[in-house]
Symmetry: C2
């Protein structure tokens, strides 16, 4: 299989993407890694290194930046590393692409370059949200579409369930609907209409899940519209971040608290890592005709390599084909 | 002025409501407190006490429980303490009512018994969310209406701004719109349409506010639909709660961590109180033709007294009349 890496995407590109690509190529000999990006910047990073035969470089002259307006950037920068990688997937030159670049631009590349899967109305971005049991929950949609119809939520549920089966090897993933109460009749118009649709799907629907229970890991897939999902994730991130800074502030107030805090440091660090929103691997864009994985903007070489691992498992288990079969019956 | 207390509402009723009512009557001689509820249960609690002359009892034979279905309960239990208190406000026998009872039933009492203010399409529940600077932010709507139109959000903004002016004495409250990004074009259909409406209002609109920034207290009023508001509040509550239980678990792992944690206990407790969602007073139901304040279900006597304090300030500063004037121009 062949996996294209947008070598210019992310805060640490191209150093992290090149190093991650090299490590992936070294580990998985059956996988061709294609680094897509500016030859002039990538080649110096490869100089003097033992290049694995399954690693190649594809030149792309442009770069989409974090500040670029997504749709305009994807339309205009046709020779950007991200768009070229997307085109490789579209034209089946690559089986998957990975990018740590501009999230909006990657979703646009998915839609406009790679293309939607037949039968899918709205592709979804599906990151893992950390949970206290360390298993995490796949949440979708987390921002690809701000507004959703009940039918979209039903497709998210199917895609998310298949992803957890195929990539995380969970036989019967528990699918929950993000809502304001656990009873069936609760919610806004969207969730009230989505609930009976989810009940009819060939998935293990566990009903409504309240925002305060997401952290306890009571489902494997959390279905929500992009707006509510963003509010949920940002509220959790913001609260965790604020508490840790407050703890730090309180614990450095005096010599006494400093000493005590030093003794608790391993525990505090463990807790912080548990809730680290950057440590949970890449987020797939589900519902496209090919595999696209969004790696975190601050991804290091190890995160890039992990995204390759994730893409390999999805490809080996024919994730995209399974979703297509489930949705369109083909 | 006369304030009716639903003496049977809340987890600690009628003990806490009676004690809180007594304390309020003792402190504010210009305020008549009416305890509404079951005479047979309230009178024994008053026995042997020096009864202030500004405290009276109004018998009501029924009680709406936490488990009651709101609309049915309000329609059927016409002699419940909550409905009787609401009727007193409707018939101007009381200037305000306070209840720590079933939230859904109280909102229904507001709508069906007290009645909407002319010109208001949807009344809103407006609790304070704690912030790191201890000032808190008034968030509305937090659950009275799951679905909102842009015009509703505009009315929430006006009502919230007036409440902060009149009750909290903030000259120009900063009003923010809960959204997925700070730029003006961000959001779902609802927030995109609401944004220009908020810009045109005679309020200090500070633009979009992301969920992760709510805790930092960058606005005084946070406008959102009831669904998103619930997701926000529950996610914050759930994350804070989970972190504190994890800290507790980590800190009791060994003798060493127990000792260290004991030294940090005052700091930890301070932090926990800072983020305590029950400590921030009662939540007004804004947009009704009279003043209705929801006290927390677990309210103790002090919380009930504080709700009376809050209602007094709102009445003294003619909150309801101000909202009516602003909305309907009357």
């Amino acid at each position: 299989m062949r996996i294209a890496i947008d070598a210019m995407g992310g805060d640490n590109a191209p150093e992290a993407t090149v190093e991650g690509g090299l490590a992936a190529a070294a580990e998985w000999k059956d996988t061709e890694i294609v680094l897509v990006g500016d030859q002039g910047r990538i080649e110096p990073l490869l100089k003097g290194k033992q290049l694995p035969s399954n690693l190649t470089l594809r030149h792309a002259s442009e770069v989409i930046d974090a500040e670029d307006e997504p749709v305009r950037a994807v339309r205009r920068k046709k020779d950007s590393s991200m768009v070229v990688a997307g085109r490789m997937v579209k034209e089946q030159e690559a089986h998957a692409m990975i990018s740590a670049g501009n999230t909006g631009a990657l979703m646009t590349t998915g839609l406009l370059v790679v293309g939607r899967m037949e039968g899918i109305e709205r592709p979804a971005l599906a990151p893992m949200i950390p949970t206290l049991d360390d298993l995490g929950v796949l949440a979708l949609d987390l921002g690809a579409n701000m507004d959703a119809k009940p039918e979209h939520l039903a497709q998210y549920a199917q895609m998310g369930s298949l992803y957890r089966q195929k990539v995380h090897n969970i036989a019967e993933p528990r699918v929950g609907l993000l809502n304001v109460g656990t009873e069936a009749g609760k919610g806004n118009e969207l969730t009230k209409l989505a609930y009976p649709l989810l009940e009819q799907l060939p998935i293990r629907f566990v009903g409504n899940v309240e925002a305060r229970d997401v952290l306890t890991g009571n489902c494997d897939v959390l279905v929500c519209d992009g707006f509510a999902g963003n509010i949920l994730l940002k509220a959790m991130e913001g609260t965790a971040g604020a508490i840790f800074s407050l703890l730090k502030e309180q614990f450095t107030k005096s010599l006494k608290t400093k000493l005590a805090a030093a003794m608790l440091m391993p525990e505090l660090r463990g807790l912080k890592n548990k809730l680290d929103y950057t440590e949970h691997g890449g987020a797939p864009l589900l519902g496209l005709s090919g595999l696209v994985v969004k790696s975190h903007g601050s991804a290091d070489a190890n995160a890039v390599k992990n995204a390759v691992r994730q893409a390999r498992i999805a490809l080996q288990n024919r994730l995209v084909e399974s979703i297509s079969k489930e949705i369109s019956g083909k």
